[in-house]
Amino acid sequence: MAARALTPAVVVLALFFLWRGHDAPGGGFIAGLVFGAGIVLRWLAFGPDGIGPLLPAPPSRVLALGLVIAIGVGMVPVAVGEPFLSGAIWELSVLGTELKVASSLVFDVGVTFVVVGMVGAFVRGMGSIR
């Protein structure tokens, strides 16, 4: 029961860390670890089939997608003559609130995917050893 109730909280916490990571402690790696902790929690509570809601795809795919996002966003500036991983910051007005969005957020999303994929692979690999 607790695991079921904690799942959304873990997801929100991971998203919160991902969001604030640009200027404050947090970021993609931490978000991935928190999300991964949610996966481990569900595995322990419900067994191998229980992680589906948090990790619907094979872990290696998630990892690969994360790598492509993170490195791909780093390569874009190289193509236009800037150093690798150079970022831009956009100021958006959403529902009357000013939001600062950095392109490095995309990089962080990629990192999150990598870490989540990694945790998923660990859990699957080690959990299946009898």
């Binding site: 290696s60 990892l63 690969a64 390569m75 150093p83 690798f84």
Partner: protein, 484 residues
């Protein structure tokens, strides 16, 4: 040019992700070849554009130095990129010919390994170096357990445990350096160990951790216990890239942070001598080709750090020359062992014999590589060892020079032992059925041409090695490029 440097690491990593999800093995091979060519091409370009002794540098993310992670390439780094790319390509080619690259993990692991090796070679930031080495180890964990037999998992366990311990020491060292010097940028840290005890202790921890990764005695025991149990092409790949990244990083950290301090160099010379002797003696008791070769790897690492211990331009140049030709030779030897194991069903010396009649080409490739490893003229190993020993004597390091010569003879003895047991003598009465495959010898053959060419035309590599040594020694140029 310099902004393209990170692509040497990023492209293989990106394409590693791509090959992990591609179902067709042919496509995976083509993608892998493209990634390897990109990395090697950037290496060639870096060597080409640092001929004047300059250093290419870029600050990641466009942040101002010294806060950004800096990546830099001098001639030494460029040369290593080329060598790493070449070895990765040939080992993957061997895996393909042997039919061992069926799992997507093979290509993905090898490309991630290459990308991390490139990143570790290029980075000018201690913490970033730690991250690259972790990526390197992560991909090697995947590769060492491909096939997942109990022996391999056991070998992987020793390997993982040792390297995690090494990584913890590394991280502690980086933390100490950051706490005392306030920066992990190698440009800022130039010569910093002399002025601050905290930096000196931290950097020493980093050096110790790198010694673990490079398998220097007394922190070498993990290597001969885990390498022989991995798939053959993986052992060959590890021998050419993984342990050598430790050496490359060791060269950079010692020359820059310690600025070649005499006390550090003397300590390194002692470790180098002990490593040579312990490795070569350890090989005596081994009975399989790969186990013997693994102990020799430990021994030869001694020669590499000996160059660092001598520390003169001549010594470093000899070390770079030695490193390049040694990587080719050692990878060739492991690939020969792999070919023997594939075709004869075993690489255990007691199960083999008379291969010189049965497989003369294989015997020739082995003989050339083995003689090059021992340092028989006119092969490149001879040129490299003469240069090393001469540099040692010129630098008044007589003890290590004599040790290097003596260990060469013991190396030859070990190679003769393999030759006598596997290639000479009579064929085994009940041969184990192997699975011969066409062209399996080609990658090893290509690598075995290296010691011949570099032995007869040593001048061509010597010019580049000398430039690489000067770029290593000229830490002022490096530091001002990295942290202007």
């Amino acid at each position: 040019m310099s902004r393209f440097l990170p692509l040497a690491a990023a492209t293989p990593l990106l394409l590693a992700a791509a090959v992990a999800v591609v179902p067709a093995v042919v496509v995976r091979r083509v993608v892998a070849a493209a990634a390897i060519a990109t990395c090697g091409g950037i290496g060639v370009a870096a060597v080409g554009s640092t001929g004047d002794g300059g250093v290419l540098a870029t600050q990641l993310g466009g942040f101002p130095p010294p806060f950004a992670i800096a990546m830099a390439a001098d001639t030494f780094a460029g040369l290593m990129l080329v060598v790493f790319a070449l070895v990765t390509g040939l080992c993957l080619a061997f895996a393909g010919l042997r039919g061992h690259d069926g799992s997507p993990r093979a290509h993905a692991g090898a490309l991630a390994l290459l990308g991390a090796a490139a990143g570790a070679t290029l980075t000018a930031d201690l913490f970033n170096l730690f991250v690259w080495i972790e990526v390197l180890l992560l991909s090697s964990y995947v590769l060492i357990t491909i096939g997942g037999t109990a022996r391999r998992v056991r070998a992987g366990t020793i390997y993982v445990a040792t390297n995690l311990l090494g990584s913890s020491v590394f991280l502690a060292g980086v933390a100490l350096v950051y706490a005392t010097a306030g920066s992990v940028n190698l440009g800022v840290l130039r010569g910093a160990a002399a002025g601050s005890g905290g930096v000196a202790i931290g950097a020493t921890l980093v050096v110790v951790a790198l010694a673990v990764k490079s398998a220097l005695v007394p922190v070498h025991a993990w290597l001969p216990r885990s390498y022989p149990d991995a798939p053959t092409w993986v052992t060959a790949l590890f021998s050419g890239t993984l342990t050598k990244v430790g050496i490359v990083a060791l060269f950079r950290v010692v020359t820059v942070v310690f600025d070649g301090a005499a006390g550090v160099r003397e300590a390194i010379l002692i470790v180098a001598g002990v490593t040579m002797v312990v490795g070569v003696l350890g090989a005596v008791g081994q009975t399989s080709m790969r186990a013997i070769l693994s102990f020799h790897m430990v021994s030869q690492v001694g020669y590499l750090v000996m160059a660092l211990g001598i520390g003169t331009i001549a010594g470093l140049g000899a070390g770079v020359f030695f490193l390049v030709q040694y990587i080719a030779v050692k990878t060739a030897l492991f690939l020969v062992a792999g070919a023997v194991e594939s075709q004869e069903g075993s690489d255990d010396l007691e199960e083999l014999g008379g291969l010189v009649h049965k497989r003369p080409a294989l015997a020739a490739v082995f003989l050339i590589s083995a003689f090059a490893l021992a340092g028989v003229p006119p092969l490149s190993g001879f040129v490299a060892k003469v240069a090393l020993v001469r540099a040692a004597f010129d630098g008044a390091a007589y003890g290590i020079g004599a040790t290097a010569v003596a260990v060469s003879f013991l190396t030859l003895l070990s190679m003769v032992k393999i030759w006598n047991a596997a290639f000479w003598g009579s064929m085994p009465e009940e041969p184990i059925p192997g699975e011969p495959r066409a062209g399996l010898l080609v990658p090893a053959g290509v690598l075995a041409a290296v010691p011949i060419v570099l032995g007869l035309f040593a001048e061509s590599l010597w010019v580049v090695a000398d430039r690489a040594a000067r770029s290593l020694a000229d830490v002022v140029v490096y530091a001002s490029a990295v942290a202007p």
